[in-house]
Symmetry: C2
Subunit: 230 residues, 2 copies
DNA sequence: TCAAAAGTGTTCTGTTTACACCCATGG
DNA sequence: CCATGGGTGTAAACAGAACACTTTTGA
Protein backbone atom coordinates (compact mmCIF):
# COMPACT_ATOMS: atom_id res chain seq x y z
CA UNK A 1 0.00 0.00 0.00
CA UNK A 2 2.68 2.56 0.91
CA UNK A 3 5.67 0.81 -0.52
CA UNK A 4 7.94 3.81 -0.64
CA UNK A 5 7.20 5.25 2.76
CA UNK A 6 10.40 4.17 4.49
CA UNK A 7 12.50 3.84 1.35
CA UNK A 8 15.52 5.75 2.51
CA UNK A 9 15.94 3.90 5.81
CA UNK A 10 18.73 1.39 6.50
CA UNK A 11 17.99 -2.32 6.44
CA UNK A 12 19.98 -4.66 8.63
CA UNK A 13 20.51 -8.30 9.45
CA UNK A 14 18.56 -9.59 12.41
CA UNK A 15 19.58 -12.74 14.21
CA UNK A 16 18.24 -14.78 17.09
CA UNK A 17 20.43 -16.60 19.59
CA UNK A 18 19.07 -19.21 21.97
CA UNK A 19 20.34 -19.78 25.47
CA UNK A 20 19.08 -23.25 26.31
CA UNK A 21 19.54 -24.25 29.92
CA UNK A 22 19.02 -27.89 30.80
CA UNK A 23 18.90 -29.63 34.11
CA UNK A 24 19.43 -33.21 35.10
CA UNK A 25 20.53 -34.95 38.27
CA UNK A 26 23.92 -33.34 38.12
CA UNK A 27 22.83 -29.74 37.89
CA UNK A 28 22.40 -26.94 35.41
CA UNK A 29 23.72 -27.32 31.88
CA UNK A 30 23.87 -25.20 28.78
CA UNK A 31 23.54 -26.25 25.15
CA UNK A 32 26.27 -24.97 22.83
CA UNK A 33 27.30 -25.64 19.24
CA UNK A 34 30.66 -25.61 17.55
CA UNK A 35 30.35 -23.13 14.70
CA UNK A 36 30.87 -24.70 11.30
CA UNK A 37 31.11 -21.48 9.30
CA UNK A 38 33.09 -18.27 9.33
CA UNK A 39 33.70 -16.07 11.18
CA UNK A 40 34.94 -17.80 14.32
CA UNK A 41 34.52 -21.23 12.74
CA UNK A 42 35.33 -24.00 15.19
CA UNK A 43 34.59 -21.92 18.28
CA UNK A 44 31.72 -22.53 20.68
CA UNK A 45 28.63 -20.46 20.31
CA UNK A 46 24.98 -20.25 21.25
CA UNK A 47 22.51 -21.78 18.86
CA UNK A 48 21.59 -19.04 16.44
CA UNK A 49 20.35 -18.05 13.02
CA UNK A 50 18.87 -15.22 11.02
CA UNK A 51 15.36 -13.86 11.06
CA UNK A 52 13.57 -14.33 7.75
CA UNK A 53 11.15 -11.88 6.13
CA UNK A 54 8.14 -14.09 6.66
CA UNK A 55 8.44 -15.01 10.33
CA UNK A 56 8.42 -13.17 13.64
CA UNK A 57 11.17 -13.44 16.26
CA UNK A 58 9.48 -16.13 18.33
CA UNK A 59 9.06 -18.23 15.22
CA UNK A 60 12.65 -17.70 14.19
CA UNK A 61 13.91 -18.78 17.62
CA UNK A 62 11.74 -21.89 17.47
CA UNK A 63 12.87 -22.73 13.95
CA UNK A 64 16.55 -22.19 14.68
CA UNK A 65 16.41 -24.39 17.76
CA UNK A 66 14.54 -27.08 15.89
CA UNK A 67 16.87 -27.05 12.90
CA UNK A 68 20.02 -27.34 14.93
CA UNK A 69 18.88 -29.79 17.59
CA UNK A 70 15.61 -31.37 16.56
CA UNK A 71 14.05 -29.93 19.74
CA UNK A 72 10.39 -28.98 19.34
CA UNK A 73 7.66 -27.47 21.47
CA UNK A 74 10.09 -25.74 23.77
CA UNK A 75 8.76 -22.68 25.54
CA UNK A 76 11.20 -19.83 24.96
CA UNK A 77 11.19 -16.35 26.29
CA UNK A 78 12.65 -13.26 24.70
CA UNK A 79 15.56 -11.88 26.69
CA UNK A 80 17.20 -8.84 25.15
CA UNK A 81 18.32 -7.29 21.85
CA UNK A 82 22.08 -6.91 21.37
CA UNK A 83 23.20 -4.28 18.91
CA UNK A 84 26.81 -3.24 19.44
CA UNK A 85 28.10 -2.19 16.05
CA UNK A 86 30.98 -4.64 15.80
CA UNK A 87 29.48 -7.50 17.76
CA UNK A 88 29.74 -9.71 14.66
CA UNK A 89 32.95 -8.87 12.81
CA UNK A 90 31.65 -10.21 9.50
CA UNK A 91 28.68 -7.91 9.13
CA UNK A 92 26.50 -5.59 11.16
CA UNK A 93 23.95 -7.82 12.87
CA UNK A 94 21.47 -7.14 15.62
CA UNK A 95 20.72 -10.22 17.66
CA UNK A 96 17.70 -10.89 19.81
CA UNK A 97 18.46 -13.44 22.51
CA UNK A 98 15.93 -16.03 23.70
CA UNK A 99 16.20 -18.40 26.60
CA UNK A 100 14.61 -21.62 27.79
CA UNK A 101 15.04 -24.14 30.55
CA UNK A 102 14.35 -27.77 29.74
CA UNK A 103 14.63 -31.16 31.32
CA UNK A 104 17.59 -32.87 29.65
CA UNK A 105 16.23 -36.38 30.12
CA UNK A 106 12.82 -35.79 28.57
CA UNK A 107 14.19 -33.99 25.53
CA UNK A 108 16.53 -36.42 23.83
CA UNK A 109 17.37 -35.11 20.44
CA UNK A 110 18.61 -36.12 17.09
CA UNK A 111 20.83 -33.75 15.19
CA UNK A 112 23.13 -33.11 18.05
CA UNK A 113 26.04 -35.00 16.52
CA UNK A 114 25.78 -33.45 13.06
CA UNK A 115 25.85 -29.98 14.38
CA UNK A 116 28.44 -30.58 17.04
CA UNK A 117 26.09 -29.44 19.76
CA UNK A 118 26.83 -30.42 23.35
CA UNK A 119 25.52 -29.98 26.82
CA UNK A 120 28.06 -28.31 29.05
CA UNK A 121 28.05 -28.15 32.76
CA UNK A 122 27.20 -24.49 33.31
CA UNK A 123 30.19 -23.94 35.53
CA UNK A 124 32.57 -25.56 33.05
CA UNK A 125 31.25 -24.03 29.83
CA UNK A 126 33.86 -22.75 27.38
CA UNK A 127 34.33 -19.18 26.30
CA UNK A 128 31.86 -18.16 23.61
CA UNK A 129 32.10 -16.04 20.50
CA UNK A 130 30.96 -12.44 20.08
CA UNK A 131 28.85 -11.19 22.98
CA UNK A 132 27.42 -14.62 23.77
CA UNK A 133 28.99 -14.78 27.23
CA UNK A 134 27.18 -11.59 28.11
CA UNK A 135 23.92 -13.08 26.86
CA UNK A 136 24.37 -16.14 29.05
CA UNK A 137 25.01 -13.99 32.11
CA UNK A 138 21.86 -12.00 31.49
CA UNK A 139 19.84 -15.15 30.91
CA UNK A 140 21.09 -16.61 34.17
CA UNK A 141 20.15 -13.50 36.07
CA UNK A 142 16.68 -13.63 34.52
CA UNK A 143 16.31 -17.30 35.31
CA UNK A 144 17.22 -16.63 38.96
CA UNK A 145 14.71 -13.84 39.20
CA UNK A 146 12.04 -16.02 37.64
CA UNK A 147 12.84 -18.83 39.99
CA UNK A 148 12.62 -16.56 43.02
CA UNK A 149 9.32 -15.03 42.14
CA UNK A 150 7.34 -17.83 40.58
CA UNK A 151 7.39 -21.58 40.84
CA UNK A 152 9.29 -21.63 37.52
CA UNK A 153 6.44 -21.77 35.07
CA UNK A 154 5.50 -25.30 34.30
CA UNK A 155 6.51 -24.48 30.74
CA UNK A 156 10.03 -24.78 31.99
CA UNK A 157 9.63 -28.09 33.79
CA UNK A 158 9.15 -31.75 32.85
CA UNK A 159 5.60 -32.91 33.28
CA UNK A 160 6.13 -34.98 36.39
CA UNK A 161 8.75 -34.39 39.01
CA UNK A 162 9.47 -35.04 42.64
CA UNK A 163 9.84 -32.39 45.31
CA UNK A 164 13.47 -33.37 45.66
CA UNK A 165 14.06 -32.79 41.96
CA UNK A 166 12.31 -29.45 42.10
CA UNK A 167 14.40 -28.49 45.08
CA UNK A 168 17.59 -29.64 43.36
CA UNK A 169 16.64 -27.52 40.36
CA UNK A 170 16.14 -24.48 42.57
CA UNK A 171 19.41 -25.16 44.30
CA UNK A 172 21.30 -25.24 40.99
CA UNK A 173 19.62 -22.13 39.69
CA UNK A 174 20.16 -20.13 42.84
CA UNK A 175 23.47 -21.81 43.51
CA UNK A 176 22.73 -22.33 47.19
CA UNK A 177 21.32 -24.99 49.47
CA UNK A 178 17.76 -24.80 50.68
CA UNK A 179 16.09 -26.38 53.68
CA UNK A 180 13.82 -29.15 52.47
CA UNK A 181 11.05 -28.61 55.02
CA UNK A 182 10.83 -24.91 54.34
CA UNK A 183 11.02 -25.50 50.64
CA UNK A 184 8.16 -27.99 50.61
CA UNK A 185 6.07 -25.80 52.88
CA UNK A 186 6.46 -22.81 50.60
CA UNK A 187 5.74 -24.76 47.46
CA UNK A 188 2.66 -26.30 49.01
CA UNK A 189 1.46 -22.94 50.25
CA UNK A 190 1.45 -21.75 46.64
CA UNK A 191 -1.13 -24.39 45.86
CA UNK A 192 -0.31 -24.90 42.20
CA UNK A 193 0.92 -28.48 42.31
CA UNK A 194 -1.05 -31.67 42.11
CA UNK A 195 0.34 -34.60 44.08
CA UNK A 196 0.09 -37.82 42.09
CA UNK A 197 -0.30 -41.34 43.39
CA UNK A 198 2.80 -42.44 41.53
CA UNK A 199 6.23 -42.58 43.01
CA UNK A 200 9.60 -42.22 41.39
CA UNK A 201 11.59 -45.22 42.61
CA UNK A 202 14.83 -44.39 40.88
CA UNK A 203 16.44 -42.36 43.59
CA UNK A 204 15.67 -44.20 46.81
CA UNK A 205 14.18 -47.37 48.28
CA UNK A 206 11.26 -45.57 49.80
CA UNK A 207 10.47 -43.78 46.56
CA UNK A 208 9.42 -40.19 46.19
CA UNK A 209 5.99 -38.92 45.23
CA UNK A 210 5.56 -37.30 41.84
CA UNK A 211 3.89 -33.95 41.35
CA UNK A 212 2.48 -32.14 38.37
CA UNK A 213 1.80 -28.46 37.78
CA UNK A 214 -1.86 -27.54 37.77
CA UNK A 215 -1.88 -25.23 34.77
CA UNK A 216 -5.33 -23.83 35.48
CA UNK A 217 -4.69 -22.90 39.10
CA UNK A 218 -1.32 -21.53 38.09
CA UNK A 219 -2.66 -19.26 35.38
CA UNK A 220 -5.52 -18.04 37.52
CA UNK A 221 -3.06 -17.05 40.24
CA UNK A 222 -0.69 -15.36 37.83
CA UNK A 223 -3.58 -13.35 36.40
CA UNK A 224 -4.73 -12.36 39.88
CA UNK A 225 -1.26 -10.95 40.38
CA UNK A 226 -0.48 -13.49 43.08
CA UNK A 227 3.10 -13.00 44.07
CA UNK A 228 5.02 -16.19 44.68
CA UNK A 229 8.34 -16.03 46.41
CA UNK A 230 10.85 -18.72 47.24
CA UNK B 1 36.81 -9.08 6.11
CA UNK B 2 34.14 -11.69 5.32
CA UNK B 3 31.80 -9.55 3.32
CA UNK B 4 29.90 -12.33 1.68
CA UNK B 5 29.41 -14.57 4.66
CA UNK B 6 25.74 -13.78 5.26
CA UNK B 7 24.93 -12.63 1.73
CA UNK B 8 21.78 -14.60 1.21
CA UNK B 9 20.08 -13.54 4.45
CA UNK B 10 17.13 -11.14 4.61
CA UNK B 11 17.66 -7.58 5.72
CA UNK B 12 14.91 -5.72 7.50
CA UNK B 13 13.93 -2.36 8.90
CA UNK B 14 14.59 -1.90 12.60
CA UNK B 15 12.83 0.78 14.58
CA UNK B 16 12.92 2.01 18.15
CA UNK B 17 9.88 3.29 20.02
CA UNK B 18 10.14 5.21 23.27
CA UNK B 19 7.64 4.99 26.09
CA UNK B 20 8.35 8.11 28.12
CA UNK B 21 6.54 8.25 31.43
CA UNK B 22 6.53 11.54 33.23
CA UNK B 23 5.37 12.46 36.68
CA UNK B 24 4.36 15.71 38.23
CA UNK B 25 2.10 16.73 41.08
CA UNK B 26 -0.92 15.37 39.30
CA UNK B 27 0.32 11.86 38.66
CA UNK B 28 1.74 9.71 35.92
CA UNK B 29 1.80 10.97 32.36
CA UNK B 30 2.90 9.64 29.02
CA UNK B 31 4.51 11.51 26.13
CA UNK B 32 2.90 10.94 22.73
CA UNK B 33 3.24 12.47 19.27
CA UNK B 34 0.76 12.99 16.49
CA UNK B 35 2.23 11.24 13.47
CA UNK B 36 2.94 13.59 10.60
CA UNK B 37 3.61 10.95 7.95
CA UNK B 38 1.90 7.92 6.47
CA UNK B 39 0.74 5.36 7.40
CA UNK B 40 -1.65 6.37 10.18
CA UNK B 41 -0.81 10.06 9.71
CA UNK B 42 -2.61 12.21 12.28
CA UNK B 43 -2.99 9.43 14.83
CA UNK B 44 -1.25 9.34 18.20
CA UNK B 45 1.85 7.26 18.52
CA UNK B 46 4.88 6.66 20.68
CA UNK B 47 7.99 8.58 19.81
CA UNK B 48 9.86 6.46 17.33
CA UNK B 49 12.32 6.25 14.48
CA UNK B 50 14.56 3.91 12.56
CA UNK B 51 17.86 2.41 13.57
CA UNK B 52 20.73 3.57 11.38
CA UNK B 53 23.68 1.45 10.25
CA UNK B 54 26.19 3.34 12.35
CA UNK B 55 24.51 3.38 15.76
CA UNK B 56 23.37 0.83 18.31
CA UNK B 57 19.85 0.58 19.69
CA UNK B 58 20.52 2.63 22.82
CA UNK B 59 21.97 5.39 20.68
CA UNK B 60 19.03 5.27 18.30
CA UNK B 61 16.56 5.57 21.17
CA UNK B 62 18.47 8.52 22.58
CA UNK B 63 18.70 10.21 19.20
CA UNK B 64 15.04 9.71 18.36
CA UNK B 65 13.92 11.11 21.69
CA UNK B 66 16.23 14.07 21.36
CA UNK B 67 15.19 14.85 17.80
CA UNK B 68 11.50 14.80 18.53
CA UNK B 69 11.47 16.50 21.92
CA UNK B 70 14.82 18.12 22.58
CA UNK B 71 15.14 15.91 25.67
CA UNK B 72 18.72 14.90 26.46
CA UNK B 73 20.53 12.78 29.02
CA UNK B 74 17.50 10.68 29.76
CA UNK B 75 18.21 7.24 31.11
CA UNK B 76 16.30 4.72 29.02
CA UNK B 77 15.96 1.03 29.43
CA UNK B 78 15.35 -1.52 26.70
CA UNK B 79 11.97 -3.20 27.08
CA UNK B 80 11.16 -5.71 24.36
CA UNK B 81 11.42 -6.38 20.62
CA UNK B 82 8.13 -6.46 18.71
CA UNK B 83 8.13 -8.38 15.47
CA UNK B 84 4.64 -9.35 14.34
CA UNK B 85 4.74 -9.52 10.57
CA UNK B 86 2.06 -6.94 9.88
CA UNK B 87 2.59 -4.70 12.85
CA UNK B 88 3.39 -1.82 10.50
CA UNK B 89 1.15 -2.03 7.45
CA UNK B 90 3.51 -0.02 5.27
CA UNK B 91 6.49 -2.30 5.49
CA UNK B 92 7.88 -5.13 7.58
CA UNK B 93 9.51 -3.48 10.59
CA UNK B 94 10.82 -4.89 13.83
CA UNK B 95 10.61 -2.43 16.66
CA UNK B 96 12.59 -2.42 19.88
CA UNK B 97 10.77 -0.55 22.63
CA UNK B 98 12.55 1.55 25.24
CA UNK B 99 11.12 3.18 28.31
CA UNK B 100 12.02 5.97 30.70
CA UNK B 101 10.49 7.77 33.63
CA UNK B 102 11.25 11.45 34.05
CA UNK B 103 10.25 14.37 36.18
CA UNK B 104 8.09 16.58 33.98
CA UNK B 105 9.02 19.81 35.72
CA UNK B 106 12.79 19.41 35.46
CA UNK B 107 12.71 18.45 31.79
CA UNK B 108 11.09 21.32 29.99
CA UNK B 109 11.59 20.90 26.30
CA UNK B 110 11.64 22.74 23.07
CA UNK B 111 10.40 20.99 19.99
CA UNK B 112 7.20 19.82 21.55
CA UNK B 113 5.02 22.15 19.52
CA UNK B 114 6.61 21.44 16.14
CA UNK B 115 6.20 17.78 16.48
CA UNK B 116 2.77 17.84 18.04
CA UNK B 117 4.00 15.98 21.09
CA UNK B 118 1.93 16.12 24.27
CA UNK B 119 1.88 14.81 27.77
CA UNK B 120 -1.24 12.80 28.42
CA UNK B 121 -2.60 11.76 31.73
CA UNK B 122 -1.84 8.05 31.68
CA UNK B 123 -5.42 7.14 32.42
CA UNK B 124 -6.77 9.41 29.70
CA UNK B 125 -4.28 8.60 26.94
CA UNK B 126 -5.74 8.06 23.47
CA UNK B 127 -5.60 4.87 21.49
CA UNK B 128 -2.28 4.40 19.74
CA UNK B 129 -1.25 3.08 16.35
CA UNK B 130 0.12 -0.38 15.57
CA UNK B 131 1.06 -2.36 18.66
CA UNK B 132 1.94 0.71 20.70
CA UNK B 133 -0.81 0.13 23.26
CA UNK B 134 0.68 -3.25 23.98
CA UNK B 135 4.11 -1.66 24.41
CA UNK B 136 2.73 0.81 26.93
CA UNK B 137 1.10 -1.96 28.93
CA UNK B 138 4.33 -3.90 29.09
CA UNK B 139 6.29 -0.80 30.06
CA UNK B 140 3.84 -0.09 32.86
CA UNK B 141 4.15 -3.61 34.18
CA UNK B 142 7.93 -3.28 34.11
CA UNK B 143 7.82 0.07 35.84
CA UNK B 144 5.63 -1.38 38.60
CA UNK B 145 7.95 -4.29 39.10
CA UNK B 146 10.94 -1.97 39.21
CA UNK B 147 9.20 0.26 41.70
CA UNK B 148 8.32 -2.66 43.96
CA UNK B 149 11.76 -4.18 44.02
CA UNK B 150 14.08 -1.21 44.01
CA UNK B 151 13.80 2.34 45.15
CA UNK B 152 13.25 3.34 41.50
CA UNK B 153 16.83 3.82 40.41
CA UNK B 154 17.88 7.39 40.85
CA UNK B 155 18.27 7.40 37.08
CA UNK B 156 14.52 7.61 36.99
CA UNK B 157 14.14 10.41 39.52
CA UNK B 158 14.80 14.15 39.61
CA UNK B 159 17.89 15.04 41.59
CA UNK B 160 16.17 16.41 44.67
CA UNK B 161 12.78 15.39 45.94
CA UNK B 162 10.72 15.25 49.09
CA UNK B 163 9.47 12.10 50.73
CA UNK B 164 5.94 13.16 49.93
CA UNK B 165 6.81 13.47 46.23
CA UNK B 166 8.49 10.09 46.26
CA UNK B 167 5.46 8.59 47.93
CA UNK B 168 3.11 10.28 45.48
CA UNK B 169 5.19 8.84 42.63
CA UNK B 170 4.94 5.36 44.10
CA UNK B 171 1.23 5.79 44.60
CA UNK B 172 0.72 6.73 40.95
CA UNK B 173 2.88 3.92 39.68
CA UNK B 174 1.28 1.29 41.85
CA UNK B 175 -2.11 2.95 41.60
CA UNK B 176 -2.82 2.58 45.32
CA UNK B 177 -2.45 4.57 48.50
CA UNK B 178 0.42 3.91 50.87
CA UNK B 179 0.79 4.66 54.56
CA UNK B 180 3.25 7.52 54.95
CA UNK B 181 4.88 6.27 58.13
CA UNK B 182 5.47 2.81 56.77
CA UNK B 183 6.66 4.23 53.49
CA UNK B 184 9.22 6.50 55.10
CA UNK B 185 10.41 3.75 57.42
CA UNK B 186 11.00 1.39 54.53
CA UNK B 187 12.76 3.95 52.41
CA UNK B 188 14.98 4.92 55.32
CA UNK B 189 15.75 1.28 56.09
CA UNK B 190 17.15 0.96 52.58
CA UNK B 191 19.74 3.56 53.45
CA UNK B 192 20.33 4.94 49.97
CA UNK B 193 19.02 8.46 50.44
CA UNK B 194 20.81 11.50 51.73
CA UNK B 195 18.70 13.98 53.66
CA UNK B 196 19.56 17.55 52.70
CA UNK B 197 19.32 20.65 54.84
CA UNK B 198 17.09 22.32 52.27
CA UNK B 199 13.34 22.31 52.38
CA UNK B 200 10.84 22.53 49.59
CA UNK B 201 8.43 25.26 50.66
CA UNK B 202 6.09 25.06 47.70
CA UNK B 203 3.66 22.52 49.05
CA UNK B 204 3.10 23.54 52.67
CA UNK B 205 3.77 26.19 55.27
CA UNK B 206 5.96 23.93 57.31
CA UNK B 207 8.01 22.89 54.29
CA UNK B 208 9.27 19.43 53.48
CA UNK B 209 12.87 18.22 53.60
CA UNK B 210 14.57 17.41 50.34
CA UNK B 211 16.43 14.17 49.75
CA UNK B 212 18.92 13.00 47.16
CA UNK B 213 19.90 9.50 46.06
CA UNK B 214 23.33 8.43 47.17
CA UNK B 215 24.51 6.82 43.95
CA UNK B 216 27.52 5.14 45.55
CA UNK B 217 25.61 3.46 48.35
CA UNK B 218 22.92 2.49 45.90
CA UNK B 219 25.26 0.84 43.43
CA UNK B 220 27.17 -0.96 46.13
CA UNK B 221 23.92 -2.42 47.44
CA UNK B 222 22.67 -3.40 44.02
CA UNK B 223 25.98 -5.18 43.33
CA UNK B 224 25.79 -6.99 46.65
CA UNK B 225 22.43 -8.28 45.49
CA UNK B 226 20.61 -6.38 48.21
CA UNK B 227 16.93 -6.91 47.68
CA UNK B 228 14.79 -3.87 48.21
CA UNK B 229 11.07 -4.21 48.49
CA UNK B 230 8.37 -1.61 48.92
C1' DT C 1 -4.95 31.63 65.97
C1' DC C 2 -5.94 28.39 62.77
C1' DA C 3 -5.57 25.73 58.56
C1' DA C 4 -2.70 22.64 56.01
C1' DA C 5 0.71 19.56 55.30
C1' DA C 6 4.96 17.35 57.65
C1' DG C 7 6.85 14.45 60.76
C1' DT C 8 7.23 10.72 64.08
C1' DG C 9 6.83 5.10 67.12
C1' DT C 10 4.55 1.28 68.80
C1' DT C 11 1.83 -2.76 68.76
C1' DC C 12 0.12 -6.54 66.34
C1' DT C 13 0.12 -9.99 62.91
C1' DG C 14 1.85 -12.96 59.54
C1' DT C 15 5.86 -14.79 57.26
C1' DT C 16 10.36 -16.66 57.20
C1' DT C 17 13.95 -19.17 59.22
C1' DA C 18 16.20 -22.68 61.94
C1' DC C 19 16.21 -27.04 63.43
C1' DA C 20 15.94 -33.15 64.35
C1' DC C 21 13.66 -37.28 64.20
C1' DC C 22 10.87 -41.19 62.32
C1' DC C 23 9.39 -43.75 57.94
C1' DA C 24 9.44 -46.95 54.12
C1' DT C 25 11.81 -49.92 51.31
C1' DG C 26 15.20 -52.95 48.73
C1' DG C 27 19.04 -55.34 49.20
C1' DC D 1 18.09 -55.75 59.73
C1' DC D 2 20.19 -51.85 58.17
C1' DA D 3 21.48 -48.18 54.96
C1' DT D 4 19.49 -44.70 52.17
C1' DG D 5 16.91 -41.00 50.99
C1' DG D 6 11.83 -39.26 51.96
C1' DG D 7 8.80 -37.13 54.75
C1' DT D 8 7.04 -34.26 58.56
C1' DG D 9 6.06 -29.82 62.70
C1' DT D 10 7.22 -26.30 65.97
C1' DA D 11 9.31 -22.40 68.17
C1' DA D 12 11.90 -18.09 67.67
C1' DA D 13 13.07 -14.07 64.90
C1' DC D 14 11.90 -10.81 61.76
C1' DA D 15 9.39 -8.01 58.58
C1' DG D 16 5.05 -5.87 57.19
C1' DA D 17 0.71 -3.61 58.33
C1' DA D 18 -2.28 -0.80 61.08
C1' DC D 19 -2.79 3.04 63.52
C1' DA D 20 -3.22 9.00 65.82
C1' DC D 21 -1.23 12.75 67.51
C1' DT D 22 2.13 16.76 67.59
C1' DT D 23 4.85 20.26 64.92
C1' DT D 24 5.63 24.18 61.98
C1' DT D 25 4.52 28.33 59.91
C1' DG D 26 2.24 31.57 56.63
C1' DA D 27 -1.87 33.86 56.11
Amino acid sequence: MHHNTYQQEDKLLLAVDCIIFGFDKKGLKILLVKRNFEPEKGKWSLIGGFLKKDENLDEAATRVLHTLTGLKDIYMEQLYAYSKIDRDPAERTISVAYFALIDVASHQFEGLQDEDAHWFDLKKAPDLIFDHNEMVQKALARLRRRALNWPIGFELLPEKFTMRQLQALYESILDKRLDKRNFINKINAMDVLEKLDEKDMSSSRKGSFLYRFDADKYHVKVKEGFSFRI
